[in-house]
């Protein structure tokens, strides 16, 4: 068995290098953007919500990414916009994880009628395209940061639920869970000590992948005017404001926010993929 494993490892070696490269690249992107948005006040003297110069100026040494139609500094809006995007997206994904994971554990562990009810609700939510569902919720709640967080969080609950439920179903019939039952462990202990830790790697992977997806959903929401209200800096909102000027040749109004949205989403997706390869391989090693 060991020889077989070594063989597989050798065959996978080039891929593995690639996997760790993916992870490194992803982490570099993500960490840089996070650092930039945290240190924004040190990097620019301009406030993102005050007119600091002429409107619609192209990038220059004074305004690195130009100014927008209101004369706000775009570079500053990009930096501070990163804060908004990260806050909304990370809080939303954390929130859906905190709801989806326990529901999935309960559903998978206890089965029966509870499972039926949860599964039907979650499946019908999952059937909606994420942006449309988020839009519907945000439209009902009204545009604000908290409401955007709630809308996005609701959209991703089924992702966690389905993954956790499925894995719980298979883990709960494993022998070590039966062994825990045989020593008299209560359900709560079995779920927390024996099932959850074995789910953690997958949860982490899904979490990062989810952030990548949520970035696009958030951008969509704010592009359509259902996220943070103006003048709060936000990439999606800037994209919306700028696209009217694109045909007139003011490319910098959409290019920078659009690029940042794609870059951040790609960064998290790379981290997710990279982690997935590493964690699933480590799982294989442990068996």
């Amino acid at each position: 068995m060991n020889i077989g494993f070594e063989l597989i490892r050798k065959m996978l070696a080039p891929w593995l290098k690639e996997a760790s490269l993916m992870l490194k690249l992803g982490l570099a992107i993500v960490i840089t953007i996070i650092a930039l948005s945290i240190t924004a006040p040190l990097l620019t003297q301009y406030s993102p919500i005050i007119k600091v110069g002429d409107a619609l100026r192209p990038p220059s040494t004074k305004h690195l990414m130009g100014t927008n139609n209101l004369g706000y500094d775009m570079f500053s809006r990009i930096l501070y916009g990163g804060r908004t995007v990260l806050t909304v997206v990370v809080s939303a994904t954390l929130l859906s994880m905190c709801i989806g994971v326990p529901l999935g554990l309960i559903s998978g562990y206890y089965g029966r009628i509870v499972d039926r009810i949860f599964s039907i609700i979650m499946d019908s939510m999952y059937a909606f395209p994420s942006l449309i569902l988020a839009l519907a919720i945000a439209a009902v709640l009204g545009p604000s940061m908290v409401n955007a967080i709630i809308a996005i969080a609701v959209v991703y609950i089924p992702t966690y639920f389905r993954m956790v439920r499925g894995q719980t179903l298979s883990i709960k019939s494993l022998l070590y869970v039966e062994a825990a039952k045989a020593i008299g462990a209560r359900d709560l202990r079995i779920i927390i000590k024996h099932i959850l830790p074995n789910l953690l790697p997958t949860i982490i992977v899904v979490f990062t992948m989810n952030i990548a997806d949520a970035i696009l959903t958030e951008a969509g929401l704010s592009f359509l005017g259902f996220s943070v209200p103006p003048p709060t800096p936000d990439w999606g909102a800037d994209l919306r404001a700028g696209h009217e000027y694109l045909l007139a040749g003011y490319w910098w109004l959409v290019a920078f926010p659009g690029f940042m949205i794609m870059l951040l989403a790609a960064g998290f997706a790379l981290v997710g993929e990279g982690l997935n390869d590493i964690l699933s391989l480590r799982g294989a090693e442990k068996r």
Partner: protein, 330 residues
């Protein structure tokens, strides 16, 4: 004293089918894994359940520790009926009845340290606080021969060999000082050279704690080494029960005799060999009457019509056969 009594215990598993098959099938089908078995176990004895793969040994063991819910029958442990006890009623009993599983590679949580695994029963039953539990676990590690205990305490299961893992499983089962152990083929997945040591360890705890052990095995030679009584199972039924030496010297059931014939060390020179024809039958539709009749060289017409009952043949010897081998002994 009777430690455990099993009366007409049954467990049927529904056969998993695809949607189409379920539509077409007239009625639900069941695997009759355990189909009405009865036996008594005396305290401080080792009682072995022997039989080929799939005859229902593991299911019997799991029913007794109530990891499985019986469909019918009775399980009486130390005088109290635990057949349909719920988890809450079972909790105090789980301190007294423990199980050692066949597969030490699957029975230990890969994300817990060895020490935590062994100490867990003490925590679960609030017998010790964290510190006391750790001390107990370290003592236990020493007791099961995993030394130095401080080193093993911190390791994870994947860092141990199969034999070492089974020692951990034994330590976890023994730390509650149980009265009754189900040992489900505890050495069958372990390197042959290490088996004797694991069995010896089990026997050490038996004397230490005055344990009763239900020992499950497919290997009559192993059963003979350690058990006081042996029961032979075939297709969900017990076909013969007798004290160990009696069973090996005087098998009354053709199936027992065939099992003995396949173990070189147990072949008696004066006894003719018995080789059964055919394969073990399908547990979904077991043969009518005596389940061995399509394969039994002594079968007569009554065998396919009437199911033989387990009857007393003297010397604590019970057999379920219409034509036991009493007169064909040698």
């Amino acid at each position: 004293m009777i430690e455990l009594e099993i009366i007409d215990l049954k467990k049927y598993f529904p056969v998993q089918k695809s949607f189409l098959e379920r539509l077409l099938a007239r009625e639900k089908q069941f695997i009759k894994a355990v189909d009405g078995i009865s036996f008594k176990m005396f305290s401080r004895q080792v009682f072995s359940l022997v039989g080929e793969s799939g005859c229902g040994k593991t299911t019997t063991g799991r029913l007794i520790v109530r990891l499985e819910k019986p469909d019918a029958g009775k399980i009486v442990f130390e005088g109290s009926d635990i057949t349909f006890a719920d988890e809450k009623q079972l909790r105090p009993l789980r301190r007294k009845i423990q199980i050692i599983f066949q597969d030490p590679y699957a029975s230990l949580n890969p994300r817990m340290r060895i020490g935590e695994i062994i100490a867990e029963p003490l925590i679960v039953h609030s017998i010790a606080d964290k510190k006391e539990a750790k001390e107990e676990a370290l003592k236990m590690l020493e007791n099961v021969g995993l030394t130095p205990p401080h080193m093993f305490y911190r390791l994870f299961p994947h860092q141990l060999s199969g034999g070492q893992r089974q020692r951990v499983a034994i330590a976890r089962a023994m730390i509650l000082k149980p009265k009754f152990i189900v040992a489900d083929e505890p050495v069958s997945m372990i390197d042959v050279s290490l088996r004797a040591a694991i069995l010896k360890l089990l026997m050490k705890f038996k004397t230490l704690y005055n344990l009763s052990i239900l020992f499950i095995t497919h290997d009559l030679a192993v059963a003979r080494l350690i058990s006081d009584t042996i029961a032979v199972m075939y297709l969900g039924k017990i076909v013969e029960i007798a004290p160990t030496e009696e069973l090996i010297d005087n098998p009354l059931h053709p199936y027992t005799k065939a099992l003995l014939s396949s173990v070189p060390s147990l072949i008696r020179r004066k006894r003719e060999k018995l080789v059964l024809k055919g394969e073990i039958a399908n547990p979904i539709n077991p043969p009518s009457g005596c389940r061995l009749h399509p394969r039994c060289p002594y079968a007569e017409s009554i065998c396919s019509r009437e199911e033989p009952k387990l009857i007393f043949y003297g010397n604590n010897h019970y057999v379920a056969c219409h034509f036991p081998l009493v007169n064909r002994r040698y």
